[in-house]
């Protein structure tokens, strides 16, 4: 399975036409303790780079941007009761949504793990 990162600190993992989306470990560390995850409606259509949803931490409310265009197929309902999963396991159990991609070519514009790591170091 292919895993890629956006410069805005979202990750996508792709299986066929479905992309699972979350925020990176770097992002959760910067946010601090997450207290509320404002999940989008299933069926919401998003364009790459647009606001997908927002996450509220003890520090701030931050937008999560759609790393790919498509339709929201599923949201991680567990986060309604356990928003802390985003901190504990951001790139696993703390995933946010699954998106049915309309343009898989967009994945080419995202960073692989090495390039993303470098991007984070620059941002520090």
């Amino acid at each position: 399975m292919m895993k890629k990162y956006a410069k805005t600190h979202e990750w996508v993992q792709v299986e066929g036409k479905v992309a699972t989306v979350g925020i990176s470990n770097f992002a959760q560390d910067k946010l601090g303790d997450v207290v509320y995850v404002d999940l989008p409606q299933v069926g919401k259509v998003v364009k790459k780079g647009e606001t997908l949803m927002s996450i509220e931490s003890v520090k701030a409310a931050s937008d999560v941007y759609a790393p790919v265009s498509g339709k929201v197929l599923q949201v991680n309902e567990k986060l309604n009761d356990q928003p802390e999963l985003v901190n504990k396991d951001p790139e696993g159990e703390g995933w946010l949504v699954k998106i049915e991609m309309t343009n898989p070519n967009e994945l080419n514009e995202l960073l692989d793990e090495g390039a993303y790591k470098k991007h984070c170091e620059e941002e520090e």
Binding site: K30, G32, D33, V35, Y36, E56, V58, K59, E124
Partner: protein, 480 residues
């Protein structure tokens, strides 16, 4: 322990004397009568006094010590303000009294409005809004009413820089605008190219604060104003940072159309932290017809509330707003005078730059430029080196008996610590604060656990802010 938990059934602080007045039942319909007496606390007078004195002694305030909470302008609140606000003529009147009988109060409102218009360079003003964010909402509603009155229905966007106070996008959204965020330059200033790209005939207003949240003066402000006006939009001034420029430059002269102020910041009324503030909104003459009703006016040596503004956005607050806060601001302006106010802003800037220079010797500053009334420490390198977070430093400061600065704001600086000393602090206090901060940085390097587990000397240790946010308890419920 709350005062309810200290209650003992039957205990009293006051006993009514025997009376010759005959007891009589009132004719209240049965269904309106409560079945059970209200559960009010029952205590003796010393119990009550001790309870609140104890709470007051646990509180930290600017009367107790240094309070460099960036962006909040925690300047000292002169006690003469309390004296005037407590005068019977002000404190014992009621807004339902006919305005002919409260001429003195209306005169204060009118003259304060005139003073503030002069200070900000605006033409008219409302003093109704109860605090800063309420003033922002009022300003946004005025911007909306203005565009709609011209039949311009396309303008649905409010531009807000990414360095803005969080209340700015919230107020714009509350007023029905779609908020578009403007990316700032490295210094947190407006990026003219970015602004140009985002301006269109759909933009209603640009919200700005000057100096900005990094404490830097927006040097291109006249160019920005021209661009915004050429695009048919309005320019809004968030008065949070007025203390840096009061008496020296006026937002109205920079090209701002709408201005909100915080009397509880710049004009020395106390911060209630949820209690009464006051957020006047000033406008240029072409927007005056949209101000909330009533506007206080003067004719034939009489002051009166003018309700005849058909295009007004309506009331935003009951009666006249938080009147006694206005009395305090009015007192402040009169006691300081023009030269005093100018001197205050000058000293606020001098104090900030003095402290910035001291702190820059052991922590990074977000922008190396000369600042205005406040500056932002960029703690990211410190955090990387020590593993101690800026939040830990803030908590440790409490052990040394000073208030922590604002942390994690503005969002454009990671690990931000925003410091605003204000003009009322002496060089000794600034030296002391810098020394304490340096010592904590030293502790973070040598004994980090001490800092990570602070505070130790406060009435409560670290609060569980995660649970407090996730499961807030809004009110006390008696057990059983």
């Amino acid at each position: 322990m709350t005062i309810f938990e200290k209650s003992v059934t039957g205990r009293k602080a006051f006993r009514f004397p025997d009376t010759a007045i005959e007891k009589r039942e009132f004719d209240i319909p049965n269904h309106l009568l409560r079945k059970k007496a209200p559960q009010l606390p029952e205590l003796s007078e010393p119990d009550v006094v001790r309870h609140y004195t104890d709470l007051a002694s646990k509180n930290y305030s600017v009367d107790k010590g240094f309070y460099p909470l960036g962006s909040c302008t925690m300047k000292y609140n002169p006690k003469i303000n309390e004296y005037t606000a407590a005068l019977r003529g002000f404190s014992q009147i009621h807004p339902y009294q006919p305005w002919e009988f409260t001429q003195g109060a209306l005169q204060i409102i009118f003259e304060l409005k005139e003073f503030l218009c002069e200070i900000t360079g605006m033409d008219d003003m409302t003093l109704q809004p109860a605090a800063g964010a309420h003033g922002e909402l009022t300003g946004m509603l005025i911007a909306r009413a203005y565009h709609l009155s011209k039949g311009d229905f396309k303008r649905h966007i409010a531009l807000v820089p990414d360095s803005a106070h969080g209340t700015n996008p919230a107020s714009a959204a509350m007023a029905g605008f779609d908020v578009v965020e403007l990316k700032s330059t490295e210094d947190g200033l407006i990026d003219l190219a970015e602004l140009k790209k985002n301006l269109s005939d759909e933009v209603a207003v640009l919200m700005l604060t000057n100096p900005n949240t990094l404490g830097l003066f927006e040097k291109d402000i006249t160019e920005i104003a021209k661009m915004v006006h050429d695009a048919g939009a309005l320019l809004y001034y968030d008065g949070a940072n007025l203390n840096a420029i009061m008496g020296r430059v006026r937002p109205g002269d920079m090209g701002f159309d709408i201005v909100h102020l915080n009397l509880h910041k710049t004009f020395s009324a106390p911060h209630g932290m949820g209690g009464p503030g006051s957020g006047p909104v000033g406008v240029k003459s072409f927007l005056a017809e949209f101000l909330p009703i009533p506007v206080i006016r003067k004719a034939d040596d009489k002051y009166y509330p003018d309700f005849n503004l058909p295009k007004s956005i309506g009331r935003v607050r009951s009666f006249y707003g938080n009147f006694l806060v206005m009395v305090k601001a009015y007192t402040y302006i009169l006691t300081m005078g023009r030269d005093g106010l100018t001197h205050a802003s000058r000293m606020a800037v001098l104090n900030a730059n003095y402290l910035r220079t001291l702190i820059s010797r052991f922590l990074n500053i977000a922008s190396p430029r000369t600042c205005m009334h406040e500056f932002v420490v960029d703690g990211s390198e410190f955090v990387r080196q020590t593993g101690v977070k800026v939040l830990d430093v803030a908590k440790r400061l409490l052990d040394y008996g000073v208030h922590a600065p604002t942390v994690y704001f503005p969002l454009i600086v990671h690990e931000a610590m925003m410091i605003e000393p204000t003009e009322t602090e002496s060089k000794d206090t600034l030296d002391m604060f810098s020394k304490i901060l340096k010592q904590i940085v030293e502790e973070a390097r040598t004994k980090p656990d001490i800092v990570k587990n602070a505070p130790y000397k406060t009435p409560v240790r670290r609060l569980d802010d995660v649970t407090a946010t996730k499961k807030p308890v809004y009110r006390f419920k008696r057990q059983g």
